[in-house]
């Protein structure tokens, strides 16, 4: 299991190389990338801010839950922060497992939970010079 919140460029092949085993028949790599357009507005780039000291343990926790779901500890999740241009990879998730259903489910779980719980915020910058914090999700608080 490997998780990281980083300012560095994410290399997809590098994240994929963190998973895989001779016992596994399936591997999934999910990439989130910065789109050139959002709700009809032309985007010039995205700034990702994070509460890094909290995001790292939350990402580890999410990957741990996905590992149970996949029955596999071959899970990697990397989230980038900082200023990202169009097309840049903001998040990469890799899972390998003996069978494909578990790999698909675990990768999907990680990205959905990232969106619900990871303390990260997007400041979207537009070609017209404006910028805006994207509206987010209220994380479910465990009691």
């Amino acid at each position: 299991m490997h998780t990281r919140v980083t300012r560095d460029v994410i290399e997809p092949q590098g994240v994929l190389d963190l998973v895989g085993s001779p016992a596994d028949g399936a591997a999934i790599l999910f990439l989130g990338t910065v789109r050139e357009q959002n709700d009809g507005r032309a985007v010039s780039g995205m700034r990702y801010d994070a509460f890094v000291e909290m995001a790292e343990p939350v990402l580890r926790e999410i990957a741990g839950e996905a590992a149970i779901l996949a029955g596999s500890d071959r899970i990697a999740a990397v989230h980038r922060v900082g200023d990202l241009p169009i097309g840049a990879v903001s998040v990469a998730i890799a899972v390998s497992s003996p069978h494909r259903a578990e790999a698909f489910d675990a990768a999907r779980y990680v990205i959905e939970q990232i969106k619900q719980r990871l303390p990260v915020w997007k400041h979207e910058h537009y070609l017209d010079g404006e910028a805006e914090w994207l509206s987010g999700t209220v994380p479910p608080v465990s009691r």
Binding site: F51, K115, P119, W121, K122, W133, S142
Partner: protein
């Protein structure tokens, strides 16, 4: 007692502050700390009355009791991915 407050993203922009320390009554809840913060200054009054919070880097309910030296983070709705 003294606690450390962290503000992020929109809350940082609204207040111009990312980090500060405030004094609150012994045994105060996080909600009480937020109320105290919002009363200090018109900038802080722009913050929501009931934000999502993390205490010492874990999500928490607003009625949680704080201790001296706790780190209370006010978190806008999250938008990772």
């Amino acid at each position: 007692m003294r606690i450390r407050l962290l503000l992020f993203a929109l809350y940082r922009d609204l207040t111009g502050v990312s980090e500060l320390e405030i004094d609150v009554h012994e045994g105060s809840s996080a909600a009480a700390a937020v109320t105290t913060l919002r009363a200090t200054d018109t900038r802080f009054a722009r913050l929501p009355e009931r934000p999502v919070i993390a205490v010492n880097r874990e999500y928490a309910e607003l009625d949680v009791r704080l201790s001296h030296g706790d780190e209370l983070a006010l978190l806008p709705p999250v938008a990772g991915g």
